[in-house]
Point group: C2
Chain length 272, copies 2
DNA sequence: TCAATAGTGTCTCTCAGACAATATCCT
DNA sequence: AGGATATTGTCTGAGAGACACTATTGA
């Protein structure tokens, strides 16, 4: 206790009496942690869209180690020293799934900190959101598998599906897993947060359309929006949709392939 | 190296071979930290409004210990084990300033993680935003002072002022301190983030009006909005303003005091 | 009665949404 | 030619913003 008292006195001296330089020098010499510190992880909610299948997709990995071994989870992992969390997120996504994201299309979502959200102990996670044109994935060392799951909204339920996998179902209002196949940690909640955020912002920040890659047609954009609204794309009027979003688009070229009148091709305007 | 190799083998065994129960038991016995972990703090951006002075205010504390001793800073501090960050934020705000916040009017803002944002080393901060009717403040043990600073927007500059203190100036586009009086850490950036967030959302999420306490008049609400727009409140048309926001209000009573026709009193409707 | 304050009403212009018409391609 | 797909154009009703008017109070 005496030792502790003298440590406290010393601490107080450096914190309040000494110069800032002296304080920092002293501080760095201390081995005892001033406070108990949590681990910090990042999680990435990454969306893409497949034109042929008309499917909105979300990237998941299968965990190959405890906890939640063999469960599906968002890509992510521990933040390293000298890394901003956005960088960790980009790095981990690449390591686990071989998908390269840039700072352009990454957006911070929310930080989840329930003290019991990780069975290993105290782990806080900073979640991110991004959109990318569909890319091949390849599970890295840290993951047993990596897969684009189709994501469909049916009323208040999100259904994540893949032919070879059991469906994962999430209740939108509560953010809870519904079926037997459960996502790791609180990742269902994170996905719901991302989904709602996108649906709310899409009409004034159409970054979602990056799932279509650089270029897209009005109808393709309608299809993507329809996925977030949980409706058929034909319920979104072509003319009105175009009027609402044309300010964010730049026309780049004319024709395309396929049946019917060729569509014009657009890009997203650069950041406002 | 041999010791380390065998540790790695053991780790791999528990992570990938053993049962989850066995893994967790093993995990909790480990003394060596699996990863280097950052400290995590919270910061609170708290706004209020003083009717007599017609001033929007923000709560700052004067730091009484290094680093940034004697600088003004947002209330906040280290997150403790078994605490969600929102709880830490409420606790620290109370400890440092004697102001009680509830979960009702607290909203997560952003997590700041630049690795060099704290001279002590690796510290990540989760920032929060809240509104409260004006309350007396009293500096706690951790702070040398606690004060409501008036906040005025003049073009692209935020000016934080108090009669007895030097003005603090922040450039809105860059989030940088302008004058000689500088805020601690990256707190200028956090305040700018909060300010912009409020200004963007005010017309469809008028939670800002909680700075007026429970009840308020249309004109009082206009005055608060004008502060965020950096204009005189008379530039906001009474009639149009009311039309735009009436859906979020409930009329509670009629008359008030003062010169002129008595105003009606409103409350915010409960959460949608 | 006048100035100050606040609430109510009106006019116009714009925009969102429903729907109709036209254009271009494939078979 | 006919069906499919996409673009362009029109009509209407609701809402935003400018502005004028009325109501209530204190001096």
């Amino acid at each position: 206790m005496d030792a502790n008292n003298s440590y406290q006195a010393e601490k107080k001296y450096y914190e309040t009496q000494a110069s800032e330089e002296a304080f920092l020098e002293w501080y760095k010499k201390q081995s005892r942690p001033t406070y108990d510190t949590p681990s910090v992880t990042v999680d990435m909610v990454l969306f893409c869209y497949n034109r042929e299948q008309d499917e909105l997709k979300i990237l998941l990995i299968k965990r190959n180690s405890h906890p939640f071994k063999d469960s599906w989870a968002l890509p992510g992992g521990f933040v390293r020293r000298d890394e901003a969390t956005a960088d960790s997120c980009i790095r981990e996504t690449f390591e686990e799934t071989n998908v390269r994201i840039t700072h352009q299309n990454i957006e911070q979502l929310h930080t989840f900190s329930r003290p019991d959200r990780d069975p290993r102990g105290w782990v806080i996670t900073v979640s991110y959101l991004a959109f990318i044109g569909e890319e091949p994935v390849k599970a890295g060392d840290d993951a047993k598998d990596a897969l684009w799951f189709s994501l469909n909204r049916s009323g208040d339920t999100l259904v994540l599906s893949d032919n070879a996998q059991k469906d994962i179902m999430i209740d939108l209002p509560s953010g809870k897993n519904l079926g037997t196949e459960k996502l790791a940690f609180d990742h269902a909640e994170i996905i719901v947060k991302a989904f709602n955020r996108i649906a709310n912002k899409m009409y004034h920040e159409p970054q979602v359309l990056r799932v279509l890659g650089e270029e897209f047609t009005i109808t393709e954009a309608r299809k993507v929006y329809a996925k977030f609204l949980g409706i058929d794309y034909r319920e979104i009027d072509h003319s009105n949709f175009k009027k609402a979003l044309l300010d964010y688009f730049v026309e780049v070229s004319e024709r395309a392939t396929g049946v019917g009148r060729p569509s014009k091709i657009y890009r997203l305007k650069n950041e406002d």
